[in-house]
């Protein structure tokens, strides 16, 4: 096995004495797509936020390309965060900036691109997500799906090595889910390393290399979609969870 690009060891986190994450460990290889599923409040979002230190874990270690990250060193932390893109459930676009500026601001202020370089790069990413004609729109003028695509472009412009997606479609109207999933599929086809929390089981089954089922802050089951979701695994927690969601599972 090759060296993992991201390695998570024994992550623990409690809020007000309630344990949110207990002793989670896993490795992510380059180009791998891991999908986190499980009931709401089970710890998926907290785990993703711990991965780029938006929440500081109480204990445990995160290594990126073999180097353990020390979040107490601001420069090291910022450098790491630049390489780990994050897509939020509620998009979190900068409300005062246009779609184009949302993508260029980090290029200019963090990566110190000139205005021209940043604009060129941003246009490239906005074209990739199919929004080249919405560059002058403010977030308030965009639909949910368009906002999420801008936020993907914003993350991609930083040239991330790995992308964390926190239920990227769960705040969207049903008819807008697809346009976002298509973009994510495109990234998957291009070999982007991703960790994605989602309830879109059909989609997860299609793109995931491994599914981690997270409940009460621990990984209850893990394995390929095939292993967890085929008919012979009817007793698996993942299978029953998906059945309860009313999702048709099984090999396709």
């Amino acid at each position: 096995m090759t060296k993992p690009i991201l390695s998570v060891r024994n992550i623990c986190k409690s809020f007000n004495k309630k344990e949110i994450l207990s002793n989670l460990s896993f490795d992510v290889q380059k180009g791998e797509i891991k999908v986190l599923i499980g009931p709401s409040g089970g710890g998926k979002s907290s785990l993703l936020q711990c991965l780029n230190f938006l929440i500081f874990a109480d204990s445990g270690e995160i290594s990126f390309k073999g180097n353990s990250i020390n979040p107490k060193k601001p420069t090291e932390l910022r450098k790491y965060r630049q390489q780990v893109g994050m897509i939020f459930q509620d998009f979190n676009l900068f409300e005062h900036l246009t779609a184009l500026e949302n993508v260029t601001i980090a290029l200019r202020k963090v990566r110190k691109f000139t205005k021209k370089e940043a604009t060129e790069r941003a246009l490239k990413e906005l074209t990739l997500v199919g929004l080249q004609d919405k560059t002058d729109h403010y977030p308030a003028q965009l639909s949910g799906g368009q906002k999420q695509r801008v936020s993907i472009a914003r993350a991609l412009a930083m040239d991330p090595t790995i992308l964390l997606l926190d239920e990227p479609t769960s705040a969207l109207d049903p008819e807008l889910v697809n346009e976002v999933l298509q973009v994510i599929k495109k990234l998957a086809d291009n070999g982007m390393t991703m960790i994605m929390a989602t309830h879109q089981m059909d989609f997860a089954q299609n793109i995931a290399h491994e599914i981690l089922f997270i409940e009460n802050g621990t990984i209850i089951e893990q394995g390929s979609p095939k292993e967890l979701l085929c008919e012979s695994q009817k007793l698996s927690r993942t299978y029953s969870f998906c059945s309860a969601l009313g999702i048709h599972t099984g090999e396709k």
Binding site: V84, D90, H96, Y138, A155
Partner: protein, 239 residues
């Protein structure tokens, strides 16, 4: 600059009425209006630096109150509490008549500008602080996730949004400042009100002096309101 301003204002408020009403009472054209125009110029000299430096200082203080470490934040809060909690007249008297005790002697003009700036910044800080805390936490998280430092996040993401929200309140404070600039006469700086008072007590034409003086303030505030509306429309419409 002063001459240009005065010849413009004199032409506007003295020349024009004189042209249409040659019989106009010379008290207005020879005594009251020329002196009020000088006062207006002095008032503007007070208001522009006080309002702009006060606003910037307020933005810094508001940010410190919200984001700095507890000691600095508390200091900024105490500053704001002191300047909002004591009468401006008293602050001016202390700055002009009190500080010489420490060998700090200020001209009436500088004493007034410093007093107004410190006082207005304390109020502006509160408007800005209110707007800062109203910006959703997720905006900060999104910036951190992109590799922004805390300072760069506040400067590029949070403050620009907060200033838009604070603008109506901050504009209100600038209008207050225009009116309380009339207190500069207590440190012997003769702006609009000082000159109006002087004429009124010399000529005993109290009612018409003060009435026209009031019109001058109304004129100043109207211009400020128009400017602020313009700013709001052009900046706020972006959201």
């Amino acid at each position: 600059m002063e001459e240009l301003f005065l010849s413009f204002m004199n032409a506007l408020v003295i020349g024009v009425p004189k042209f249409f009403f040659p019989q106009i009472d010379p008290f207005y054209t020879e005594e009251l209006l020329p002196l009020l125009n000088i006062g207006l110029y002095n008032s503007i000299l007070l208001i522009i630096p006080s309002a702009s430096i006060g606003f910037i200082l307020g933005a810094i203080l508001g940010s410190l109150q919200t984001y700095a470490n507890p000691v600095v934040a508390k200091t900024a809060t105490i500053y704001s509490q002191i300047f909002r909690g004591t009468p401006l007249v008293l602050q001016l008297l202390i700055i002009y008549f009190g500080l010489p005790a420490f060998n700090i002697v200020l001209s009436p003009y500088f004493a007034a500008v410093i007093g107004f700036t410190l006082c207005t910044s304390a109020y502006q800080a509160e408007y800005i602080r209110g707007a800062l805390v109203s910006i959703k936490k997720e905006q900060t998280l999104a910036a951190y996730a992109l590799g922004f430092s805390k300072f760069a996040t506040i400067k590029n993401i949070i403050l620009p949004q907060a200033l838009r929200r604070a603008l109506p309140g901050c504009g209100n404070e600038i209008i207050y400042l225009i009116k309380y600039s009339s207190l500069a006469y207590v440190v012997t700086f003769y702006e609009l009100t000082g000159n109006g008072k002087k004429i009124a007590s010399l000529t005993f034409r109290v009612l018409d002096s003060y009435f026209i003086l009031a019109l001058y303030y109304l004129f100043l505030v109207s211009i400020a309101t128009l400017l602020l509306h313009y700013l709001e429309k052009n900046i706020l419409s972006q959201q």
